[in-house]
């Protein structure tokens, strides 16, 4: 095949638009990361490389506030991540291994609702609901809201992996007199584990990064990292916030990469 005129796969300019797309997506993040190492009080002037804002983050005046927010965020993300992953795993097994049944489409619709409804509407609905049933806004209201919101994110990788695993494994176990629970615990779960972990990591990061819903249902005096960052940014973008953002950003990239890798290894194993 000739390269220029007859390569119908190739469209002139598409490569440059792709490069532009990546530049647009990454430039703001990279600039903020670069400026977090700026040795200057002003966010406009470049004063040389330094780690002073990272030092400030852990020892400065606001360090106690950020530490508390970080502990809250991690606690909430772990709790919501574990619970939503457990719910999503059970649901995925019913959906993928439960045969065809009435209400399957409806169940899938239910699981998708938290993604389909705009976040701000979910936030409003939950705030009104928690207030009207008299639940005090705080840890519990945030964790409940995050569990609901995280279910579809945990569900998708788990059900995708489950579809890649042949049911012959569990059937063989059951032929050998393993009960349904034993077949799950000792046969299916170990093979499904990368999918479960991948789902957990996505749920964890979705919870850790959530701002809008948390902002509505957190109540007074409670802060997570995103709400603390938002509060600080309202007074102007300060260098220590850029350092904190950089750390959170790199952490997200790390967790998501880990989740992807787990998803990929599982796909490879199950085809053998």
């Amino acid at each position: 095949m000739g390269k220029s005129r007859y390569n119908i796969r190739h469209y002139p300019g598409f490569l440059w638009i792709t490069v532009l797309c990546l530049v647009l997506l990454y430039a703001p993040l990279i600039v903020v990361m670069a400026y977090s190492f700026n040795d200057s009080l002003s966010i406009t002037q470049w004063g040389g490389f330094s780690l002073r804002w990272y030092h400030d983050l852990f020892t400065g005046v606001e360090s106690a506030k950020f530490k508390r927010a970080a502990v809250n965020s991690l606690f909430i993300a772990l709790t919501a991540g574990v619970i939503s992953t457990a719910l999503a795993t059970a649901a995925a097994i019913a959906m993928v291994r439960g045969g065809s049944f009435r209400g399957k489409t409806l169940s899938f619709g239910m699981i998708s609702i938290p993604i389909l409804v705009p976040e701000i509407v979910t936030a409003v609905a939950m705030l009104i609901f928690f207030t009207s049933i008299g639940l005090k806004l705080g840890y519990l209201s945030i964790v409940i809201a995050h569990i609901v919101f995280c279910i579809p994110f945990a569900y998708l990788p788990i059900s995708a992996r489950l579809q890649g695993i042949e049911s012959a494994f569990e059937e063989a176990a059951q032929d050998l007199y393993a009960g349904r629970w034993q077949a799950f615990r000792y046969v299916l779960m170990p093979i499904l584990m990368p999918g479960i972990l991948s789902g957990f990591l996505l749920a964890f990061i979705i919870s850790l990064d959530d701002f809008i819903i948390t902002n509505f249902v957190k109540g007074a005096g409670m802060e997570t990292l995103p709400t603390a960052i938002f509060g600080a940014v309202k007074q102007g973008i300060k260098p220590n916030i850029m350092a904190l953002s950089t750390l959170l950003l790199l952490f997200s990239v790390f967790i998501v990469t880990l989740s992807y890798r787990l998803g990929r290894t599982n796909a490879k194993n199950s085809t053998h």
Partner: protein, 304 residues
Amino acid sequence: MAAIGSGKTVSSTYAPVRGWLLLPTWLTIGIFMLMPLGVMLVYSFLTKEFRGGVLWEFSFAAYDQFIFDRGLFGDEAPSIEWTYITIFFRSLVHALIATFFCLLIGFPTAYYIATRPTGSRYLWVYLITIPYWVNLLIRTVSMKFLIRDNGPINQALLNMGVIDAPIHLINTNVAVQLGLFYSYLPFMVLPIYAAVERYNISLSEAGADLYAGRWTILRTILLPVVKPGIIAGCILVFVPSLGAFLAPDLLGGAKTFMIGSLIEEQFKGTASNWPFGAAASMILLSIILAVLMLYARSQARGQV
């Protein structure tokens, strides 16, 4: 339904216990997602109290306030209240513009990635997906930092002598549209990528054999085939853009108010009118459900 749960053979190893397995999820989403939406609907028909609470008296006041202006004491002849209609209209325009530009950049990107060799394709997809998982708040703040009057872009342009005065973007409609575009761009690329990846390239080759030019092939063969992916991408960008809060709040000002900001103000801000906030949320939700239903219908028709 065909999208999820339809393997080659329907496996039913866990069929006898599927009800028990689904129950926890049903209960969680039913109690903490559907019921709240129901309670929100009820709230939108309640009467607001002066200090931000509600009175349990049925009223259309929240929806009425949305459309009519009855003067400060509510005793004047109603005239159309344009404030909120304008905010909704502005949100629609912002969301449409963001969707258009996402498509303009997203389609060529998705096509380019989908036609790479398998190995590098995964890397490209990974690079496009990563920004989606990064905290949206941090991304929006980064955009604000970048386009400030004395931000890095303006400084670089000033230093190079391209401009004499900084380009003022913050608090303008353009900044909000840029923010929306930037926030949801990955949503456009991924479904189009998936559609182009499934596209049978020999269709293009057949077109070329019949002396069609590259752009004719693109317009008459490729675009119609990958249209479902394009529509899915447009919806995935349009829906969250319409209800966006962070982009208008951080990049915009009073003149760029969007639905999300209007709703937020009723609960967290000074306006403090819960029934009105609930009503605005209901209207937003209805618009989005209408869009999703149109989409579902077009999908169903396409499959027949």
